[in-house]
């Protein structure tokens, strides 16, 4: 009790900035009740209205999950302003999700909130409780499992986009574990047990050498942040930002819509990048603050150190991803992607393999939270697919996927063969950027194009009514061919096929360092096609191995479930070092 009190005293004396508290809330390193107490102390000095909406929302999110105790708490401390502000939110959320479980009184023995709060706030107004809270007590029922499954996803969808938009890899800076991990802890009876564990067992976990290790890690991370900020050219970015902002503010800015839009997009990019770099600094500063505080104080504070360790861990992940995005500096890397999968020769086995690849890439796209659509799929006779086209909308989709181009080979016992013989099949994967129409301002001379329309045979015209309006365009000088079948009219298919062809040629031009499409060497294009890039062995052992990078894993199930990131990263690093070597 006395220790807890002193802890809170220290915190209230320290009076951490709101941003710091928000971070705590995100990672849930603090006991919610402690947080509440902090809020209240804040509120008594400033007003609760100073808190950002987002912060209040997050608090109420926490409150939902252990509403009873916290409502009691609000009652006990009689902080009417706080409660008035939070109650509608609580009630609303309570109505919208199935009710939270009635938590067992689970305050840890070493720490009772009431006593803590009483030590520095006014005595309770119990009449308030009867007026505001009876419904919550009586309606608490045990939850349905399904409600739990839907709760976290809805919560994390709600807050996800801002983060995902700022960064291609999700889960970057702010761990979403807040909303994801809570339900599982809800299921266990002791609602507060998980976050509380660190607080109650202060001495056992953290020995001095752990602290030194942490300090070292924090120092190393700090250095890393410094390096990254330098190499990313934070100062130049600032200058660029100023330049773009001046351009955007000019009167004639909207005269040319296309260039205006491009400027605005560049502006967002620069801003995002600067914010991200600032965020890195803020995070590492927080970790350093904790380490310094601990050094000044006599005793170690487990929760704080856990917090610091957590920050460092997450920050390093975010830094990894940032570095990776630096590898994606190709002119089209930022764009969305179109993947085209074609079954190789070999009938049903190959078609089934193409289908497995389709599923793999769709899963991958969904994991990245890209808008993933299978726009075209041509079914195999028995099973699987002959071909399929996926469109992935989202930043850097093409950059990540461009290395997937090539032939993918599978070795397994054939499921379509009574004897279960070992069978090798192939499927081809093509990747092209999903470019906005106006960025394709390349003119291809009409005579370089061979446009074929698939139409049902016979007399055509009025004699036939078929919905097949496929268009196939071949760029004669290079032999590059695209086909488009997913649109519902011939013209629409032709337009789409042409833009895909242009996208494909532009990428090839970049690969060959040709300044324009005319310079593309057709022979090189043909030779480059169909290079085998990866082996997937299901039998007699399990192994996925990339032919180019040598990266491999035995966890073939995860790979087929879309866990492609290690392969993608390995390839990007490989490509980067190759380009450096040249």
């Amino acid at each position: 009790m006395s220790r807890s009190t002193s802890r809170l005293h220290y915190l209230s004396a320290y009076r951490p900035p709101i941003a710091f508290l928000q971070m705590k809330l995100h990672s849930l390193a603090f006991h919610p009740q402690i947080l509440f107490a902090i809020i209240v102390t804040h509120a008594s000095q400033r007003t609760i209205h100073d808190l950002s909406n987002d912060f209040v929302w997050r608090i109420s999110e926490l409150l939902i999950l252990d509403s009873r105790d916290l409502c009691d708490l609000a009652d006990d401390i009689g902080h009417v302003a706080t409660r008035t502000l939070l109650m509608p939110k609580i009630l609303r959320s309570k109505a919208s999700i199935a009710l939270s479980p009635s938590p067992a009184p689970s305050l840890s023995p070493s720490f009772t909130m009431e006593s803590v709060v009483h030590s520095f706030v006014s005595p309770p107004d119990h009449w308030l409780r009867s007026q505001f809270f009876p419904p919550m007590r009586t309606t608490a029922v045990s939850p349905l499992p399904i409600a739990y499954r839907s709760l976290p996803s809805s919560l994390c969808y709600a807050e996800k986009p801002t983060i995902a938009a700022a960064f291609p890899y999700s889960n970057s800076v702010f761990p979403l574990s807040t909303s994801i991990s809570l339900p599982s802890s809800c299921r266990s009876k002791a609602l507060f047990a998980t976050p509380d564990a660190g607080v109650s067992s202060e001495t056992s976990v953290w020995a001095m050498q752990d602290f030194y290790t942490l300090r070292k890690e924090v120092e190393a991370t700090s250095q890393r942040v410094k390096d990254i900020r330098e190499s990313a050219g934070l100062e130049q970015l600032g200058e660029e930002l100023a330049k773009l902002e001046t351009a955007a503010a000019s009167d004639s800015f909207w005269d040319d819509r296309t260039s205006a839009q491009q400027t605005l997009m560049a502006l967002t990019d620069v801003k995002d990048k600067i914010n991200l770099l600032k965020e890195f600094q803020a995070q590492v500063d927080d970790a350093e603050t904790i380490v310094n505080l601990t050094e000044e104080m006599d005793s170690t504070d487990t929760a704080l150190l856990e917090e610091a360790a957590n920050i460092v861990k997450e920050l390093n992940k975010a830094l990894d991803k940032f570095e990776l995005s630096q590898l994606l500096s190709g002119p089209y890397d930022k764009e969305g992607a179109v993947i085209n999968i074609t079954a190789g020769a070999g009938g049903t086995d190959a078609q089934d393999w193409a289908d497995m690849l389709l599923r793999m890439y769709v899963r991958w796209g969904e994991r990245q939270r890209y808008k993933t659509r299978v726009v075209e799929k041509s079914m195999g006779e028995e099973a699987g697919i002959k071909s399929a086209t996926i469109e992935l909308e989202g930043r850097y989709a093409f950059g990540y996927l461009s290395g997937e181009k090539g032939t993918h080979r599978i070795v397994r016992q054939s499921p379509f063969n009574a004897k279960g013989l070992r069978q090798t099949s192939f499927s081809g994967v093509e990747v092209m950027p999903l470019l906005p129409e106006d960025s394709l301002n390349v003119e291809i001379p009409e005579e370089d194009l061979q446009i074929g329309f698939s139409r049902a045979g016979g007399s055509g015209g009025q004699n036939v009514n078929k919905v097949e309006t496929a268009v196939r365009i071949t760029h004669i000088p290079t032999g590059v061919t695209v086909r488009c079948t997913e649109e519902r009219s011939q013209l629409a298919n032709k337009i789409k096929a042409l833009s895909r062809l242009k996208a494909k040629l532009l990428v090839i031009a970049v690969e060959q360092r040709a300044s324009e499409i005319k310079q593309i060497r057709g022979d090189a294009v043909k030779a480059d096609w169909g290079q085998q890039i990866r082996n997937y062995v299901f039998h007699p052992y399990k192994l996925v191995k990339d032919v180019r990078t040598g990266h491999e894993t035995t966890d073939i199930t995860s790979v087929m479930d879309g866990e492609l990131d290690p392969f993608i990263k390995a390839y990007l690093r490989y490509k980067y070092s190759e380009s450096m070597a040249n």
Binding site: S459, G461, V467, R488, L491
Partner: protein, 364 residues
């Protein structure tokens, strides 16, 4: 010269009208949505209906799996019997049906198997979807009638029983007009005519490439076609530029002799003898009035040629769709001999599949 002489009055004309009536008035047997085809108001295409129905994801998936499996069971049987669609074509159609029937088709993809209770909003009752797909497979009802629309060029035109479904080949007609008005700016601001407009697709396609003063008159003998064409014209907000008139070929055009800048038509051109052997979607469901071109399929085409000589102004352009090479040659011969000197730049233009499909020319 009296226009009535030009109006077609062959015995075939009467029979085909009767045939059309008999088809049109026959109610669609198992069709619960049967607004009678001779309704005054055209049916609303599925994709434009309000999403007032709903179904759970699992129920919709059940329907989808059922529809997929009966589509798969077709294999190549339709193709073998009358060059109809195979399973692949039908799977594609099924996806489009889902696209049109769901308020938010993406939701089918983004929700996984754990959310079977997720409720989707539909533009048609699930029972109706079962019925529609059954009609598609068992009755060979054309997909475009099932969903009530056809994507044609960059347009989505409403269609229903009694109106010919515009064909992909015909998309090229608009390109032909585009080419000619680029050469002759004068035609761009003139009066254009689409004879036998059907759904109004060509008229709408053309008017959108004409200039500010360009106008189109679209005619059709069929009442249903006039209704549907008017609906489509209104939907694209072109009622000030296109007037849809009911009547046989040139009948509604009296007073415009020698003043027409361009004349296009996709008239019935299938020889009567071929009609019975047509793909079921076409022969059993599409209006015979729009298909049957008489014994050699040339009855209406010849009539149009004669009319073109009368209606077009000097420098005016015409384009007709035909059944193929033989008809194209015949038409060109006819124009060169009968209307000697009336036309120049007569051309035969192939469609995407390489079949000689269009005859074009300029009035001297």
């Amino acid at each position: 010269m009296n226009l009535a002489i030009l109006a077609r009055s062959s015995p075939l004309f009467t029979t085909s009208r009767i045939l059309h009536r008999s088809i049109a008035s026959k109610p669609f047997s198992c069709c619960s949505i049967s607004n009678s085809p001779i309704s005054i108001n055209p049916k609303t295409p599925l994709f434009l209906r309000p999403p007032t129905f709903s179904a759970t994801l699992s129920d919709l998936q059940k329907w989808q799996n059922w529809a997929k499996s009966i589509a798969s069971s077709v294999k190549s049987s339709f193709t073998d019997s009358d060059n109809g669609p195979n399973s692949n074509d039908l799977h594609r159609e099924l996806n489009w049906l889902i696209e049109d029937a769901l308020e938010n088709p993406q939701s089918l993809l983004t929700h996984n198997e754990f959310e079977i209770d997720y409720v989707l909003r539909l533009r048609a009752d699930l029972d109706e979807l079962y019925l529609l797909w059954k009609q598609r497979i068992e009755k060979r009802r054309p997909f475009q009638y099932v969903v009530g629309c056809e994507h044609w060029r960059d347009l989505v035109v409403s269609v229903e029983e009694g109106v010919l479904i515009p064909r992909p080949e015909t998309e090229l007609m608009v390109d032909l007009v585009d080419d000619v008005i680029k050469e002759n700016e004068d035609l761009k601001e003139g009066l254009w005519v689409d004879l036998g407009t059907g759904s109004g697709a060509i008229a709408i396609g053309i008017v959108r490439i004409l200039g500010d003063f360009g106008r189109v008159i679209a005619t059709d003998l069929s009442h249903v076609a006039v209704q549907v064409a008017s609906f489509n014209v209104n939907r694209y907000n072109l009622q000030d530029k296109i007037s849809v008139k009911q009547g046989s070929w040139f009948e509604p055009l009296s007073g415009f002799e020698g003043r027409v800048a361009g004349l296009v038509s996709n008239p019935p051109y299938i020889p009567s003898g071929h009609v019975s052997g047509l793909q079921a979607e076409v022969g059993r469901h599409e209006p015979i009035l729009a298909l049957d071109g008489g014994e050699d399929g040339m009855a209406d085409l010849l009539h149009l040629c004669n009319g073109a000589a009368l209606m077009l102004k000097s420098g005016g352009f015409f384009a007709f769709e035909t059944n193929g090479e033989d008809q194209c040659r015949f038409l060109v011969d006819h124009m060169e001999t009968i209307h000697n000197g009336s036309f120049h730049n007569l051309e035969i233009i192939p469609d995407f599949a390489g079949i000689q499909r269009f005859v074009t020319g300029i009035r001297s």
